[in-house]
């Protein structure tokens, strides 16, 4: 959305016959702005580049000089990180857990938001505020009791348990954002669907859900980032279970005191960072659009 506007501006700039000349003040401000923003971009990019470069070095090369390029582009750091350190299986676990939780929370969240946004019944307001409360309290408050809830139902240290808890904690955000979205969809469409003989189920899945796609996409992106980055929940209720990526990465870094394999650590960090970064660069227009959507409401 915003990038579109910016590119339109750029176009009109080229074709504008009355293009005003830049004053000296403008040039100075432009130069200062570009300098400040370039310095900031360097601060962002340098650590990432350095991590990437170091992931090809041996430990002794890393200690010899932090800047030198690796003597050869070797991938054994990646091989060790992927197999010996188990990053490969952690990655797979993360994909399974985050993927399942994301699908479930989007479906359940959309259902719940739809009912709360379009029907009024006894207690609907109360349920809405209950959702808001879940957004306000810190996750830490729930950790100890949650541990025992999971133990009592036998899902402690299992991936299905982790998925359910992820769904629970992502639900209030999802409902909260989709609530206003469903509320704004026109009521005539529901009536038209009812007249055409569609039941409640059909109306939702075949009429309302497709209409809510833009909202669903924004919420899904933020839920994905939030769940992919989640650290506290897995270390608390999945400490002895099959590890997810963030948890495995921490465990790997924690062992480092004993067996120093910095090259593999950098490789592990790179493996964690790069996939999401690539997806972000592909979808960045959409994502920046959803940030603006989220704030304008």
């Amino acid at each position: 959305m915003t990038t579109k506007i910016a590119s339109q501006d750029m176009k009109s700039l080229h074709f504008n016959p009355r293009k005003p000349a830049l004053t000296t003040g403008d040039r100075v401000v432009g130069a200062v702005s570009h300098t400040a923003l370039s310095i900031w971009s360097l601060i962002v990019i340098l650590p990432l580049l350095w991590t990437f470069m170091s992931s090809f070095k041996t430990s002794s090369e890393i200690f010899a000089s932090p800047f030198a390029l690796p003597s050869q582009w070797r991938f054994d750091n990646y091989v060790r990180a992927w197999t010996e350190a188990g990053i490969g299986s952690y990655f797979l676990n993360s994909v399974i857990v985050v993927g399942s939780a994301l699908v479930i929370v989007m479906v359940l969240g959309a259902m719940c938001a739809y009912v709360l946004g379009r029907y009024v019944f006894f207690g609907s307001k109360a349920i809405y505020y209950l959702m808001l409360a879940g957004l306000t309290f810190p996750i830490f408050l729930a950790m100890v009791p949650l541990f025992f809830v999971m133990r009592n139902i036998g899902l402690l240290n299992t991936l299905p348990g982790l998925i359910l808890v992820y769904v629970g904690f992502a639900l209030p955000f999802t409902v909260f954002f989709l609530f206003s979205f469903f509320k704004s969809l026109p009521h005539e469409i529901t009536e038209a669907a009812a007249l055409d003989g569609a039941g409640e189920w059909r109306t939702f899945f075949q009429v309302m859900l497709p209409m809510a796609k833009p909202g669903l996409a924004s919420v899904a992106i933020f839920n994905f980032l939030g769940l992919w980055n989640q650290f506290l929940i897995p270390v608390a209720i999945n400490a002895a279970g099959p590890r997810v990526l963030s948890q495995g990465l921490a465990a790997f870094a924690g062992q480092m005191g004993y067996a120093v394999d910095f090259g593999a650590l950098f490789a592990a960090v790179t493996v964690t960072v790069v996939p999401v970064l690539i997806v972000y660069i592909i979808f960045q227009r959409q994502l920046q659009g959803s940030v603006s959507q989220g704030t304008s409401k």
Partner: protein, 341 residues
């Protein structure tokens, strides 16, 4: 006369039907329909399933935490003795916990303000850095900066922590490498995270690094939402860029700033991931220890679940007080009087 009134009334009715559909006649008609299987199953599944998961895994633990905090439960013993507020007394007499709380307060004071000021400055540079003549527009080619700035937000916090832990590494780290190559030899093997005087600042820098870009993008979106006419009017009235930023932009994106402040504050009260990654033991002299770390240690290493729950309650109360303060300050400084769009 009366017919006009009747007309306007009808229009008013229509508008209220759009805004509050539940009071509109169709809703009443719907209610009179018999309950079919379709309808019952719809409500049970659509509301029942999400609510069940939410209550079991989120709300119920939240409520239980308050109960546990009043017991001396060690988790694995069947007995839970009610000991009233003793856990809380113990906490407030505990030097380590008070130190952790002090560190959290330090974070809550500095993190939001630094992050928000820096991201506001960057967002302003991007949006009003363009020409002062003609159409109002942002800095040229600024989308590159926005894309790059958002990078850290896509990286898991634990990876950010580990990465910066290596950058701060005394002997092989990037930071000391840069500083010594610039001729500052005193930093040759300086342990940024190992020295009491710099551990906290270095840690704060990492968190700020991780969030500036996100809030910058958020503020840029907010600023782009302001109609260009307002900026044009200000310019015609003779306001320069700085004046425009202070008197037009900031008041108009005030709500965004408040939201950002609260989010950042809640993060500062937690900060668990960053602290655990950079200095898992709490840092030199506990200089980077925070309440959440202490809670985790008390619960899952020492097994004092009652005491840990009390820490959770303290953390929750601190969060609520903080949010309330931000709302109050915003209100007192005239937040509600401002023109909203």
């Amino acid at each position: 006369m009366t017919s006009v009134k009747a007309k306007t009334l009808r229009v008013g009715d229509g508008a209220s039907a759009v805004v509050v559909p539940e009071t509109a006649p169709p809703a009443n008609k719907r209610r009179r329909k018999p309950l079919t299987f379709d309808k019952i199953s719809f409500f049970v599944v659509f509301l029942g399933v999400p609510l069940a998961i939410y209550i079991i895994f989120v709300i119920w633990p939240f409520i239980q935490a308050f109960g546990y905090s009043l017991t001396d439960w060690s988790g694995f013993s069947p007995k839970q003795n009610f000991i009233g507020l003793q856990n809380y007394q113990k906490l407030f007499a505990d030097d380590v916990f008070m130190k952790a709380m002090g560190n959290n307060i330090l974070l809550v004071i500095f993190l939001p303000i630094i992050t928000i000021i820096l991201s506001l400055v960057l967002a302003t540079l991007v949006t009003v850095g363009g020409s002062s003549k003609g159409q109002i527009k942002g800095l040229r080619n600024s989308s590159f900066y926005r894309v790059v700035s958002f990078f850290p937000y896509t990286i898991p916090a634990i990876a950010i922590g580990i990465m910066w832990g290596q950058i701060y590494d005394p002997s092989g780290g990037l930071l000391n490498g840069i500083l010594t190559s610039l001729g500052m030899d005193q930093f040759k093997s300086y342990a940024w995270l190992g020295d009491k005087s710099t551990a906290m600042i270095a840690t704060m820098f990492v968190i700020v690094w991780g969030f500036i870009g996100f809030y910058m993008v958020l503020f840029v979106a907010g600023i782009k939402g302001i109609p260009a006419e307002l900026f044009e009017a200000a310019r015609i009235d003779g306001a320069g860029r700085f004046r425009t930023a202070v008197s037009i932009t900031i008041p108009l994106i005030r709500d965004n700033i408040q939201t950002a402040y609260i989010y950042m504050g809640i993060l500062a009260l937690d900060a668990f991931v960053y602290m655990a990654a950079l200095n898992s033991g709490g840092g030199p002299d506990n200089s980077t220890l925070v309440m959440s770390q202490q809670l985790f240690f008390t619960a899952f290493t020492k097994g004092q679940f009652g005491l840990a729950s009390a820490m959770g309650v303290v953390l929750a109360v601190a969060t609520l007080i903080f949010s309330g303060l931000v709302f109050l300050v915003n209100r007192l400084t005239g937040g509600d009087k401002d023109v909203s769009l």
